[in-house]
Subunit: 340 residues, 2 copies
């Protein structure tokens, strides 16, 4: 890790995906690595976080971050080590986390997302991309700050077996909230109850809005006070039919809508008749408090109060199939690509 | 008005509408009028408020009020006089307002919505169904309590030429907010600017989401901070593309969605990327403060600071065509049916 490299591979956006990304929408490139100028650092990225949000960055439309440019490496959070530095506060050998790209080396000007991490405190550096990274922080601030669930309330989480959803459900359970999860398939539903401690689980596979609505009614006999929405589409529409007065819906993701024609939310009239609120949420609202959140999550994990599964695939040449697991639901935990 | 009547006509729900209501979904009935028992009053309804919300009450689905039963007179707000009373606080001859039905006489047990009104203070009793009624109150509490627009902000109002929309825009203008309205047709758009004092107006007619989006971008060069949504469908979708960070959308109505297959809100992903909030709103949240709101609106009208147009049609036999004007946009103000 101390030799300055001359070339590195990057997972590049070759074409804007139309619907579900195809393998030909990307290409692997081997490029020369430059030396950092003043204000820049060069990192060796060991692990990459593969998240549904990446899909949104591939479209050429207004969003909270600019679209990934054609020919650029695909944006992603990474954990790695500093190889060379033109910035005082980053020294060669330091472990850092940042919003970089799916590439072996990044030559970047550190922004607010780039910060040193202490890997000696955790069983694996990958924790900074999962429980202590954007995903865990999304769940942490989503629950502790945005949602603030109470004992006696019912929370419905969609995408509940996913990295954010499973963490949200566990954090809400720790506050005494009744937690119901929606997930795809019997295995994931069993895991929600046996592994993550949810009170009830609903399998959305093969169901239309009516069938899903009936399942939600059965699992939430007192209605729904809080929704943590990761999915959208028919999940959200069926959910809206069962919200209580003054319900709050935290809109964190819409993974069912990211690839192709939007189904649309057809039951938002329920927001009116229940005087309910739907609030979009991005973890970047709390960027100043990330260290506090990571610390809180690490403590819960150390105490055995929070489970966080990782699914690690190896090698940048597996970037495409690993990314696609997020959309067919075949990942078995937070999706991480190991580039080391 | 002092003779106790023996029969009265009622506008009855004959069948649940599928999409746009047909004339055959209703029928006029002449029924015997009973005398009020203890706790009941008999009213002669002189004016009926025809509102988009009525459409929602005709469907057999969960809502904030039970569906109108087949064979019952269609629910509506009315202004009239007490004919006979079994309740101490209501005397024969008193003017009252209530949530009754489209019928010449109502025999009812007064609920929280039934209250005496002082018609000597207003140019016409119809004001209690328009500016000082549910419509004006919806705008008043929507602006003063829920939305609280500020100077320097941009507010987009859909259904802006409608009774609620035109009032919302004027109330926001009084607070120094920049107000842009969306309405159907050049005449209504001209009226928004010349008559109601809006800063800009956009004609949605014949436009798809892209064309409407381009118009909104031109009319809101600094983006949209607040949305008062009465319409839904492509209006809401085009609007969502131009909201600013932390924008707040007050969801008051979805008139484009009330008749037939829902188009769905396909751009709610913008709520996430802009960390924006969409809040359903019903004026009934503020039922305890209706007298305060009516007084405030009456004062603004008396001072010439607020314009409120009424469109009055005569006779219960015109209930159907008058109601349908709400959906083809041919009403020229708050739609009122005169039964006197």
């Amino acid at each position: 890790m101390t030799d300055t490299p001359t070339t590195g591979r990057r997972f590049v956006l070759a074409a804007r995906p139309d619907g579900l990304p195809k393998e030909s929408d990307f290409r692997l490139e081997e490029v020369a690595i430059g030396a950092p100028g003043p204000g820049q650092i060069l990192t060796r990225n060991h692990y990459v976080s593969l998240d549904p949000a990446i899909r949104g960055w591939l479209d050429d439309r207004p969003s909270y971050l600019p679209p990934v440019a054609l020919g650029d490496a695909v944006r992603a959070s990474t954990v790695g080590t500093v190889i060379a530095s033109g910035v005082d506060r980053f020294k060669p050998g330091d472990w850092v986390m940042g919003l970089n790209a799916i590439e072996e080396y990044s030559l970047v000007t550190p922004n607010a997302y780039m910060h040193p991490i202490d890997v000696s405190q955790v069983p694996s550096p990958t924790l900074y991309l999962s429980a202590m990274g954007a995903v865990g922080l999304t769940a942490w601030f989503g629950v502790s700050e945005v949602m603030q669930p109470q004992a006696g309330q019912t929370l419905l989480v969609s995408g509940a077996a996913g990295a954010v959803g499973s963490c949200v459900g566990q954090l809400a359970k720790l506050r005494g909230t009744r937690v119901v999860g929606i997930a795809g398939g019997a295995d994931k539903c069993r895991k929600l109850i046996d592994h993550f401690g949810f009170d009830a689980a609903i399998d959305y596979r093969g169901k239309d809005v009516e069938a899903l609505s009936a399942d939600i009614a059965a699992a939430c006999p007192e209605g729904i006070d809080l929704v943590y929405e990761n999915v959208g589409g028919i999940c959200l529409d069926a959910t809206l039919l069962h919200i209580n007065h003054y319900a709050r819906i935290i809109l964190c993701g819409l993974i069912s809508e990211y690839n192709g024609e939007s189904y649309g939310a057809r039951n938002i009239w329920q927001l009116i008749v229940k005087t309910a609120t739907m609030r979009g949420y991005l973890v970047s609202e709390f960027v100043d408090r990330f260290p506090e959140g990571s610390k809180a999550i690490a403590a819960l994990i150390a105490e055995g109060k929070l489970r966080f599964d990782e699914h690690v695939e190896k090698g940048i040449d597996n970037a495409y199939p690993a990314f696609m697991r997020l959309f067919d639901g075949s990942n078995r935990g937070k999706m991480i690509l190991d580039l080391s």
